[in-house]
């Protein structure tokens, strides 16, 4: 699956886009975020407060309990500030 990070999530993780295999046991976005947090202190810090994070799966807004099968495009970003 593809994971995208925008704005301060991109800066803090140091990654804009990456391809990963769905980790064993991960079934939804919440599980994916928990797994990502275990990858290093920069991920743990960037993803610490999930209330500050908005989620899109396949470019549609999603939530922590949106289920994942492994071939999705998952994006993590802060609340939008366009306009």
């Amino acid at each position: 699956m593809k994971v995208l990070y925008f704005a301060w999530l991109r800066q803090r993780t140091g990654i804009g886009e990456e391809d990963i295999s769905l980790p064993e046991g991960v079934q939804d976005v919440a599980g994916l975020i928990e797994w990502l947090k275990g990858r290093g202190p920069e991920f743990a810090e960037a993803l610490a407060d999930t209330s500050a994070i908005r989620i899109a799966v396949n470019q549609e807004f999603a939530t922590l309990d949106t289920s994942l099968g492994g071939d999705e495009e998952v994006a993590l970003f802060p609340p939008m500030t366009g306009g």
Binding site: F6, A7, W8, Q59, M80, T81, G82
Partner: protein
Amino acid sequence: MSVRVQREDFDVGAEIAALTQGNMQIGGITSFVGLVRDMGGNTGSAAMTLEHYPGMTEKMLATIDAEANARWPLEASLIVHRYGRLEPGDQIVLVIAASPHRAAAFEACHFLIDWLKTKAPFWKLEETGDGDARWVEARGSDDAAAARWSANTGKEAAE
């Protein structure tokens, strides 16, 4: 009924002319232009860089545009949103709604910009003037402005 995401500036007059040309059903056009406001005050440069999510941005703008066209009897509509580095005074966003009657044009234009602010994946990185930059935080008042339209179907203006 179209949306564009671009780095380049836009010409409001030319956009309105192109959008409405030849359509004699249009009786009123409302446009909204958003500009970069100088938030820095005394810090000198208050430029900002707009980041977005290519692909999802276009999709969300098209969804918002379709929603406006479902709620109000529009003859034409347009959303143009810029990205990249912008200076104070620069145009950021253009919304146009055209309808046989003014009420629908006014309301649809207001709806489009309110929804866009909270639903289109753009983020502003503001230069603080000392070589640093900070991500602009989302405002609760923008959420409230968008939520105002949740219950209102736009039928009032359609009738």
